[in-house]
Amino acid sequence: MIFKLFRAEAIKLRRSPLWLMFVFVPLIPAFLGTANYLANIEILKSEWYSLWSQHTLFTDYFFLPIMVSVYCARLMTLEHNSHGWNRLLTVPAGRGLIFVSKLMTAGLMVLLTMVWIGILFVASGYIAGLREPPVRDILIWCAGGFGGGMVLAAVQLLISMALNSFALPVGIGFAGGLSGLVFLARHLGHVWPYSLMGYGMASNAPQKISERGYLPFVLICIGYLVVFTAAGAVLVRRRGEMGS
């Protein structure tokens, strides 16, 4: 059933302009980040690691939270509009599964975004004259971004479901991204849902990636996902009881 729901969500997003954002937004930091790297190559000595910071420093805290918020707001707006909840809640599936299917769809978009960011990063590096990319680190950064992004998606889905609006959850996502910076500056980046994406992608200190280890990060992500998914299931159930 979960895969049927997931497929239904994917069909709803077909021909959505969301894909425009998914393709074009990561191109900007890739192009301009590389240009900035090349302009300051005498200061930025750490090659691939410096380039990664240039690509992702602003992306992680301003733009990815907004992109994930837009993905999630769109997934929920589809139901808010035109009595979509009425139709969805008649599907013979557990309420929790409905939320999980939306989370899986948002997760797929986050995953594709991470893969796209990774591809652009490696291509930019080669164009900038770098060779032998640190493949293992890149995979870990992207996986970390995916883990943090899933938590962010779960929070934003909850917010988007509770608020019958498109812009408001995106605004909250933006404020959350800013708060993520503050938490990271206070060395609490690994506990705040809005910091986890940047923390996982190690954009501000890519070489320190293995100092703390990724196990606590993974456990925190899983913990948050369980809590937010349970909350999402409760919200969907309440929506069913109250009528949409």
Binding site: S16, P17, L20, L32, A35, N36, I66, A167, L168, G171
Partner: protein, 253 residues
């Protein structure tokens, strides 16, 4: 017009648009003012913030403009409200009411952001005379691109029922605007994009900062804001406003 503005207020009541914008402003201020105040930053504080504010504005204000515009038009798109509104109030007046109402939420946020830095400076005892003229110029230099971007986003949010489109444009533009400030070799990126206006109108330069000496040998230069960018932004604002209005007139409701 007063009636239409009141209508806008009633439509957005309990929709928390202004509250969201205030929350983003508050978070932006926390982020801006986050950090330890040292003897050096106290000595140079007024100029440091004049130098840094354009970067912060280039991220925060375009996204707030995007949010405000989207929320105002999303209300109408959803229930097919334009079909009811347009026959009872002229299209011109309705469009103007949206613009005025949106700006009346956005501009106070900009002023709060600006005033917050000044209050922070006085509370922390920034040294030297408060450069009022420079700060007023800074406010105007932030206002012009903000209004221009809002007018553009307003037109896009009106034209597209699916708000993901104006969001995609806004996010991409904000990215370009912010990065343009770190790419002095691409001046056209600042001067010929509305999002780059914050950088193009920035008039304070900072020199002498190094990782070793940090703020010790830092000095600032003050220039005039780029008149070409100011003219470009003014023309872009007029174009966005008239294009939006024209599209609204042609729009089938």
């Amino acid at each position: 017009m007063i009636k239409l503005l009141k209508c806008e207020y009633l439509k957005t009541r309990r929709r928390y648009i202004f509250l969201t914008l205030l929350a983003v402003t508050a978070m932006a201020l926390v982020w801006t003012l986050n950090g330890r105040v040292t003897e050096d930053t106290r000595r140079l504080g007024w100029m440091i913030y004049l130098y840094q504010l354009p970067v912060l504005d280039s991220v925060i204000m375009p996204l707030m403009a995007m949010l405000a515009a989207s929320r105002l038009w999303d209300i109408e798109h959803r229930g097919g409200m334009l079909r009811r509104l347009v026959p009872v109030s002229g299209r011109n007046e309705l469009y103007d009411a949206k613009v005025i109402y949106g700006l009346s939420m956005l501009i106070p946020c900009l002023v709060i952001d600006w005033a917050g830095v000044i209050v922070f400076g006085f509370v922390n005892g920034f040294q030297g005379d408060f450069p009022l003229r420079l700060y007023l110029t800074r406010l105007l230099c932030a206002l012009l691109p903000t209004v221009t971007i809002f007018l553009l986003q307003n037109a896009l949010s009106m034209a597209f029922r699916n708000q993901a489109v104006p969001f995609a444009v806004g996010i991409t533009g904000t990215f370009v605007g912010m990065f343009s400030m770190f790419l002095p070799r691409l001046p056209w990126l600042r001067r010929l994009t509305v999002w780059g206006g914050y950088g193009a109108l920035s008039f304070v330069g900072m020199y002498g900062y190094t990782a070793e000496t940090r703020w010790r040998d830092v000095f600032f230069t003050v220039d005039e804001p780029d008149p070409f960018a100011a003219i470009f932004l003014t023309l872009a604002a007029l174009a966005a406003y008239s294009m939006g209005k024209r599209l609204f007139k042609l729009k089938e409701v």
